[in-house]
């Protein structure tokens, strides 16, 4: 492959339109991290087996390691860098910080975005709904409980507030 093999990809990431030249076989994960410098999106396996690379596409949880950027034209990609509103962290980010829901912090971006997708559709989820919604993101540090509690705290404060 050479530079001549690159194609133009138009993406809308965190509300900003961008057009870049990339090799067509690069995944969204690689484009975000390597071409757009958005290293907040992590990777744990690059095979869809841990969801550490999770982002949102049109508000739904997606695996950036398996998504092909060319297929995402016209869709809205949200990464952890786009979660805060300006300087104001999202209520989920505050709750995760306050309750110690981020230990090593490596699954945290995917966990937060997945939780955001849940709260956006279900502002007051039950514990069971939270477990179901987060069941696709592996965490090895917390035992998940502080994460559940943080989602509940954010929900009780109103995630859009």
């Amino acid at each position: 492959m050479s530079i001549a093999d690159k194609v133009e990809v138009r993406l809308r990431v965190n509300g900003e339109d961008t057009a870049i030249m990339v090799l067509p076989y690069k995944t969204l994960l690689e484009v975000l991290r390597e071409d757009l410098g958005l290293t907040g999106t992590k990777h744990g396996c690059e095979l869809g087996e841990c969801s550490t690379c999770g982002v949102l596409v049109d508000g739904k949880p997606f695996l950036s390691c398996l998504a092909m950027p060319l297929d995402l034209e016209g869709r809205e990609v949200t990464t952890i860098e786009g979660m805060a509103r300006g300087r104001e962290p999202h209520p989920l980010q505050v709750a995760f910080a306050e309750l110690g829901a981020a230990q090593c912090g490596y699954c945290t971006p995917a966990m937060l975005l997945t939780a955001k997708a849940l709260l956006d559709r279900e502002p007051r989820p039950s514990r069971e709904m939270i477990k179901q919604a987060l069941s696709g993101v592996l965490c090895r540090c917390t035992g998940y409980l502080k994460i559940f509690e943080a989602v509940e705290l954010a929900a009780s404060r109103g995630s859009d507030g």
Binding site: K42, G44, C45, E46, A97, G100, Q103, Y106, T142
Partner: protein, 784 residues
């Protein structure tokens, strides 16, 4: 009255929390430098083979390839322990497991590097391989190292255990197996190396032990350590898996030196399984003599460790399988024999609980069985054998604070264990177990008489505090603990503390984030550093207020007279005064553990300045028709000495319980065709959010006299009792014994069908242990 502390004991937000929730934390693979190359490593496809020839010519010619390395480029052997210098960055003569590194390529992108690996031609002669303890002992062919597959054998005895067994009124023997498993941090290991024009090498690496990596780089690259800087990046999970020296760290550094360009190597998930250094598979036999009343008279413990292809921490792991039996129970006579064998698997090493979860599993199910036969409940049997605070074990381990009894009471009361376990519905059961763990290893990995932890502080004129320490936060919150201790002593807020950690150029030594040592050791060093700075500030303020320094208090950003709080200076004013009088305001503190080793060879592993204690009750829900076991609820109590930040301690406890449940029920490293059966996140089963039980966590505070503010460890100990408690709960539910980890549904079903209702090893292999080293028994145990 004001609270005793303003920071310590409070569940405050840790300093790195917002960087983590915003995605701003830079892990090693997030780093990118101009002109950076990407390295990939070629690994052995054979479990055991002689390397005849490595032909890299075709790989070198591939456009985009800048350098290729083989073993001959890095011939110096290394290993984390001075006694086990048996590793090569890239294997030269032979490979010892599938995944053993052989050669490496640095190229302009990872695809080219990958393609180039495919062009390297290696000729091997296959050798017979050994994939288990039994195979390693029986192997006839060329040993994996040296003249035998036995890596280390030890035999120690404290008092005459045979005699004590003979007079015991009840003796029980059990044989138990604990399958190996791995850390599975979510972050794959990564390293970035840069060799600058001034001839200085910098390595950023996701390591728990930057100091040891620094030493190894110096040795293998044959560079003075003064020309090497190692910066540990925040670890995306460690659990012990990033506390060794890894091939990719040395290779990235060598590539940077060879090309003059920065080089990054990030392991794939598959490679992380090969890097391993995780839980040893251990086969154990435990024999205990009791009085009719349930008091232990003697214990004999044997362990066989399946070590994998290299030494790693294995000598320490071997001793750890026998060290902490006597800190949990008062054992008057104790014999311990162990052997670690080389096998053709990825090397094992320290995983959370290093060498102690396996014997803990054996011991706690053994005691559960003994209790039943002795006719006492399992809680009572433990109560009758509690270690005493401020005592010494028969193997010379010094116990200071001990909150085990309190831990037992908390979980037994909280779960209603004694009442409920007799009235559970079919398939439901409760299990109980206890444990103890180190607050830092009492000896360093290499022999020296210098401190284990050092902290430097520098104060600025506005009252800010720069804290420098070699410790590295692996998610456990060590940055917070250091900052909290300093903030408490100086009377400032957490926000006033800036941390610089894990950087061998900037920060004084801390041996690393392993063996649960950071809170205790770096915490003590931080406290000492803060106290030295505070003393200087107090002298300056006393001078200004015309009072005695001993009469001053530092709190709420002020230094004031304790008897007349209105008389004082702000913290910043105090710094300015001190600086005006004596120049830059700095201070340092160090921690060296007391010499605690007993008078025998092998006494270096096990001593710790303090031991934590834990107790757990686990509830299981078993499907009688399928053998599936679920854990709906766990009660866990942990004696942490003092919780510097209760929220973070609870986080460590909950994480430990989670990891223990994974090990108890599903996690295992198994092999087939000489290969890891499934080196992937899909097939190596790690529990999901849906399996998280309800947890009741109780913190017990014993205020250890030597811990910083009384604190002990929390990161590893709480894992220990949970695994055997699951097995004991399965027995309570189904009257079957699964004497083997993990407890899979197949094993449960098999046990239900067995005549003896048990699945587990029947015996241990015959092995001639070395002659027993008969150590003297401490005075207090003589005649008992």
């Amino acid at each position: 009255m004001a609270e005793a502390f303003s920071v310590v004991g409070k569940s405050l937000t840790k300093p790195d929390a917002y960087a983590k929730v915003s995605g701003q934390t830079k892990f090693a693979d997030d780093l990118s430098l101009p002109r950076m190359l990407f390295g990939r490593i070629l690994r052995s496809p054979y479990p055991h083979a002689r390397v005849l020839r490595v032909d890299t010519s075709a790989a070198r010619e591939l456009p985009g390839v800048l350098a290729v390395l083989t073993g001959d480029d890095l011939p110096v052997k290394f290993g984390i322990l001075p006694v086990s210098q048996d590793e090569e960055a890239l294997a030269r003569e032979k490979v010892r497991y599938v995944g053993d590194p052989i050669a490496a390529v640095a190229a302009t992108d990872e695809w080219i590097a990958d393609e180039a690996l495919g062009l390297i031609d290696v000729q091997f002669t296959e050798l017979p391989h050994a994939m288990s303890i039994q195979e390693a002992l029986a192997a006839q062919g060329e040993p994996i190292h040296g003249s035998s597959n036995v890596h280390k054998a030890v035999a120690l005895e404290f008092g005459d255990t045979d005699a004590a067994m003979r007079v015991a009124e009840y003796v029980r023997e059990d044989t138990v197996f604990f399958e190996g498993n791995t850390h599975l941090p979510m972050e794959q290991h990564a390293a970035v190396a840069q060799y600058a024009a001034d001839g200085k090498l910098t390595l950023w690496t996701s390591s728990q032990t930057p100091h040891y990596v620094h030493r190894a780089l110096g040795k293998v690259l044959e560079l003075p350590m003064s020309r090497i800087r190692v910066i540990a990046t925040p670890n995306g999970g460690g659990f012990g898996g990033k506390s060794d020296i890894f091939s990719h760290e040395l290779v990235a550094a060598k590539f940077a030196m060879a090309t003059g360009r920065p080089v990054k190597i990030t392991l794939t998930r598959e490679e992380v399984f090969y890097a391993h250094r995780g839980r040893h598979p251990v086969l154990m036999k435990v024999k205990t003599g009791f009085t009719r009343g349930g008091r232990i008279t003697a214990m004999q413990f044997q362990s066989f460790l399946d070590g994998g292809g290299y030494g790693s921490y294995g000598v320490a792991s071997t001793y750890y399988t026998g060290a902490l039996q006597a800190t949990t129970y008062a054992i008057p006579r104790y014999r311990f024999e162990a052997v670690r064998l080389f096998t053709n698997k990825p090397p094992c090493g320290p995983k959370r609980g290093h060498g102690t979860p396996q014997p803990r599993f054996a011991l706690e199910i053994h005691f559960d069985k003994a209790a039943e036969e002795l006719g006492v409940d399992p809680v009572e049997l433990r109560r009758r054998n509690l270690p005493a605070p401020d005592s010494r074990t028969v193997n010379w381990l010094r116990i200071t604070s001990c909150g085990l009894e309190d831990c037992i009471n908390k979980v037994v009361d909280g779960s209603g264990f004694l009442r409920r376990r007799t009235s559970m519905p079919k398939g439901r059961g409760l299990g109980f177990a206890v444990s103890s763990y180190l607050s830092g290893a009492g000896t360093a990995i290499y022999w020296n008489d210098m401190p284990h932890s050092e902290v430097q502080l520098k104060l600025d004129r506005n009252g800010g505090v720069l804290l420098l320490c070699g410790a590295i936060d692996i998610g456990q919150g060590s940055d917070h603990i250091l900052a909290a201790i300093v903030a408490e002593v100086l009377g400032v807020a957490l926000d006033d503390i800036q941390l610089s950690t894990g950087d061998t150029d900037l920060t004084p030594i801390d041996l690393g984030s392993y063996s649960s040592r950071v809170t205790f050791m770096a915490g003590n060093a931080a406290k000492a550093a803060a106290e030295s700075v505070r003393d200087r500030l107090f002298r300056a303020v006393a001078n200004a207020l015309h009072c005695d320094a001993a009469d001053l208090t530092a709190r709420d950003h002020r230094i004031y007279r304790s008897d007349r709080p209105a008389d004082g200076l702000t913290f910043a004013q105090a710094v300015q005064r001190a600086e005006a009088q004596g120049g830059v305001v700095t201070g340092s503190g160090s921690y060296t553990p007391p010499n605690l080793a007993g008078p025998y060879k092998g006494s270096g592993v096990g001593p710790s300045p303090a031991y934590s204690y834990s107790a757990a009750v686990v509830e299981v829900d078993c499907d009688l028709k399928t053998g599936e076991v679920k854990v709906p609820e766990v009660w866990i109590a942990h004696d942490v000495g003092r919780a510097i930040n209760p929220m973070l301690v609870i986080g460590q406890v909950e994480g430990s319980v989670y990891m223990a449940l994974g090990e108890a029920l599903m996690e295992e490293q198994t092999f087939r065709l000489g290969l890891h059966k499934f080196p992937s996140l899909l097939e190596y089963k790690s529990p999901t959010a849906l399996e998280a039980p309800v947890m009741h966590t109780y913190l017990v505070e014993t205020i250890d006299r030597e811990g910083p503010f009384g604190a002990k460890e929390a990161g590893q100990g709480p894992l220990l009792p949970v695994i055997p408690a699951v097995a004991n709960a399965v027995y309570d539910a189904l009257r079957i014994r699964i004497d083997e980890i993990p407890i899979t549904p197949e094993k449960v079903l098999k046990a239900l069908n067995e005549r003896d209702r048990r699945v587990g090893p029947k015996s241990v292999p015959t092995f001639s242990f070395p002659p027993l080293i008969k150590a003297e028994v401490p005075e207090e145990w003589k005649g008992k």
